[in-house]
């Protein structure tokens, strides 16, 4: 389908990518529209209460979060799909990005104490910086942490690396919950401003600006990563994935390449965290559970690891599943939270079935031959 023009030259690549992106957006919106049509109007409570604008906001919310997951999946794809570094701590880098951006762009929030009871412990920062500065800081913090973690961890075998990075993510979550005076504890950071505050405030146009910003960032990242993966640097990364010792024998400092790829992937995840903080408006530690990491794995495996367009499609599909389960929960109120658990079971079954029967995903990695 859209992935076949892999061997096309740069002139053709951009048009092929345009088609791919169009397909992605069609696939993206399908579950949202289906969710709206299948369910009678008015049952979708959280975001849509009145007619068409509410429905559009609901779909817009789905698209904006899917874009964030697509960015996460791109970061993980750079690490695993291209370089073969199996990172089980995606949620940790995401958390760093979200918290750092939240610290940078919120207004100062002192602790709130009512009758000697700490209602809100306050949090670090509160510099009211513009969103761009927050996003850059988040990327620096996340990428820097990834580089520091990578220095020892990348010398390990794949399964040790997975355990070490998973432990890293869990430690971060524990600290974010318990260092209450720094992070706001279980309440987290609230009242995070939007990238562009509209006057007068309008939920509809807010959602649309966020989608616009997110789509621009996603498009830029897709083009950048596509360019990177076709460059000599990306070729070395794929060589490291296929046979590290042979690459070493060709005179490449493979550790340096692995470190760079890991840090760059971490920075991309940090950017996703900054977008998340600004989109949702609050950051809580309970969201950054290992389940986020596993979801990103599924997105990359479904879409096709090593194929940037594929992982974006995977992100929209798998987040569509989650979004759909939220809609279903409102429809079948007597189900309660069961539907979420059923969704996670479906995700688990997908992981097993895909890894058994179609490990290359929907869009397989484009084959490259020597010319």
């Amino acid at each position: 389908m859209a992935a076949t023009p892999g061997r096309s030259r740069s002139a053709q690549t951009s048009s092929a990518q345009g088609i791919a992106i169009a397909i992605i957006f069609v696939i993206a919106i399908t579950p949202a529209i289906v969710g709206q049509i299948v369910l009678p109007s008015g049952v979708i409570k959280p975001l849509s209460t009145q007619g068409l604008p509410g429905t559009l906001i609901n779909i817009g919310f789905y698209i904006s979060i899917s874009i964030i997951f697509a960015i996460l999946a791109l970061g993980f794809n750079l690490q695993w799909g291209y370089t073969g570094l199996f990172n089980a701590g995606v949620a940790g880098f995401y958390l760093i990005g979200a918290y750092v951006a939240a610290f940078a762009i919120t207004a100062p929030s002192p602790p709130i104490v009512i009758a000697n009871v700490v209602v809100y412990p306050g949090h670090l920062g509160g510099y009211s910086l513009p969103f761009v500065a927050g996003a850059i800081l988040a990327m620096i913090a996340s990428g820097g942490t990834a580089a520091v973690l990578a220095l020892p961890a990348l010398r390990l075998r794949a399964d040790y690396l997975a355990i070490a990075t998973l432990a890293f993510a869990v430690i971060l979550q524990i600290f974010a919950r318990n260092l209450t005076s720094l992070t706001g504890g279980a309440i987290g950071v609230v009242l995070i401003p939007k990238p562009i505050e509209l006057q007068p405030p309008s939920a509809f146009f807010n959602t649309m600006t966020i989608i616009g910003i997110g789509a621009a960032v996603l498009l830029f990242l897709l083009l950048l990563l596509q360019f990177i993966s076709e460059s000599p640097w990306g070729r070395v990364l794929r060589a490291v994935r296929e046979d590290e010792e042979a690459t070493m024998a060709l005179g490449k400092n493979t550790f340096r390449y692995k470190l760079q790829a890991f840090a760059l992937g971490g920075a991309v995840m940090g950017l996703a965290g900054a977008l998340y903080a600004s989109t949702v408006g609050y950051v809580q530690e309970s969201y950054f559970a290992p389940a986020v990491t596993f979801s990103v794995w599924v997105m990359v495996i479904v879409g096709g690891s090593g194929n940037n367009r594929g992982v974006i499609i995977g992100a929209f599909l798998i987040y569509g599943l989650e979004w759909f389960s939220v809609q279903m929960k409102d429809y079948f109120t007597d189900f309660g939270d069961q539907i979420f658990y059923v969704r996670l079971m479906v995700v688990g079954a997908l992981l097993i079935l895909l890894i058994l029967f179609r490990p290359e995903g929907i869009l397989r990695e484009t084959k490259r031959v020597l010319r």
Partner: protein, 386 residues
């Protein structure tokens, strides 16, 4: 009277042979000495703490031993499978949860929890074989990542199936809740929740030792874990050994899950929450080494529980501002894990892998060539007797 010296000499000879049977190689002797040294330092440390802060501190030591007993049971199971199948089973925690819930289901019929644990032991062991046949045998030879991904999928399925069927509410096992037996001022020990856990932990350690050291199956398992190709070449049915490893691993997991349920509550995340603790124990001890897992479990469990007084002190003296200082104790094993992974990825009890492989080949080569190693009796001894 003339027989006395001869009988004495026969007795001493027998003693000497027994001593040789124990293989007191220099390395073994060094390890025993090192172990005694560490144990002595630990006892002295606890004694100093007790004299400084009173016997209340012993509560944390006791909690450390209880935690390490279920960590050890789980870590032995995980490391046996890791050694033989060669992948990190991320579903292990949820297999533990499955065992705990099966035991709960059985004991809801009014039967003792011991029977529930036994039923879970058998059932979950069979589930392990099923998993190998249906999923993991198909992923053999595809590197370490595909089995990890599949096991995460399995973990999600088990955990959420339990949430759907049994809901997320925590359950208590039906056993008499009695008062703790005081053993020191301010310290009590629960007869069911703590003594039983310690006893079961010890029992499983001994049975793992007997299984691996004195049975043919155990020897085959150790050989397969050492070198799969070599084990196949020497005629070991490695397929059967793999199934046996799954049975051992999963039944140990079920018992560890029951132990956690006995000392706390049964909840759907019981196993997943302690998964990283168990991984820490396995890696600290050296992957694939059951004795290392015992050592690692002890280290991880004790350090987690004994960090609580330190964290309480840090919180009360205002160095760290913590709302729940003891919640951070869960991060301590992970820090140990990351430090060990950085400094000694082959574990504190293990040896550098390349060196171990070389030593293994040298030993094997000398055995093939008929040369006797330093362990066996020198030939002159036998000739003198004859």
């Amino acid at each position: 009277m003339a027989r006395a010296p001869e009988s004495r000499s026969r007795f001493t000879r027998r003693l000497a042979r027994l001593w040789e049977g124990l293989h007191p190689t220099p390395r073994f002797r060094r390890q025993v000495l090192r172990g005694l040294l560490v144990a002595g330092i630990f006892v002295a440390f606890v004694a100093i703490l007790t004299s400084l802060y009173g016997t209340v501190i012993l509560r944390y030591v006791l909690a450390g031993f209880v935690t390490s007993s279920f960590v050890i049971v789980a870590a032995i199971g995980l490391t046996v499978l890791y050694g033989i199948r060669g992948f990190a089973n991320f579903a292990y925690g949820d297999i533990m949860t499955l065992g705990a819930y099966i035991a709960l289901l059985v004991s809801l019929g009014g039967i003792s929890i011991v029977w529930g644990a036994l039923v879970a032991f058998v059932v979950v062991g069979l589930v392990g074989v099923l998993l190998e046949v249906v999923i993991f045998s198909r992923l053999e030879g595809r590197g370490p990542v595909p089995p990890i991904v599949a096991s995460v999928g399995l973990a999600l399925i088990i955990q959420n199936a339990i949430r759907v069927i049994a809901t997320t509410r925590p359950y208590l096992y039906p056993y008499p809740r009695v008062q703790d037996i005081p053993i020191a001022p301010g310290v009590g020990i629960g007869p069911y929740s703590q003594i039983a856990t310690l006893g079961v932990g010890l029992l499983f350690m001994i049975s793992a030792h007997v299984l691996l050291k004195y049975t043919n199956l155990g020897k085959a398992m150790r050989a397969t874990a050492d070198n799969l190709e070599l084990a196949k070449a020497t005629g070991i049915d490695t397929k059967r050994v793999t199934y046996a490893a799954w049975v051992v691993s999963c039944s140990f997991a079920s018992t560890a899950g029951v132990l956690i349920g006995v000392s706390a509550v049964v909840s759907p995340t019981l196993g997943f929450d302690s998964l990283l603790l168990i991984f820490a124990a396995v890696i600290v001890g050296g992957i694939g080494s059951p004795y290392g897992a015992m050592l690692g479990g002890l280290l991880v469990g004790l350090s987690q529980e004994m960090s609580v007084p330190v964290l309480l002190w840090l919180g009360s003296s205002g160095i760290l501002q913590l709302e729940h200082p003891d919640a951070i104790k869960a991060a301590v094993p992970f820090m140990i894990l990351i430090v060990v992974l950085i400094l000694r990825p082959w574990g504190i009890a293990g040896r550098r892998p390349t060196f171990a492989r070389r030593a293994f080949f040298i030993e094997r080569l000398s055995r093939v060539l008929g040369e006797r190693g330093p362990i066996a009796n020198p030939p002159t001894d036998d000739q003198g007797e004859g």
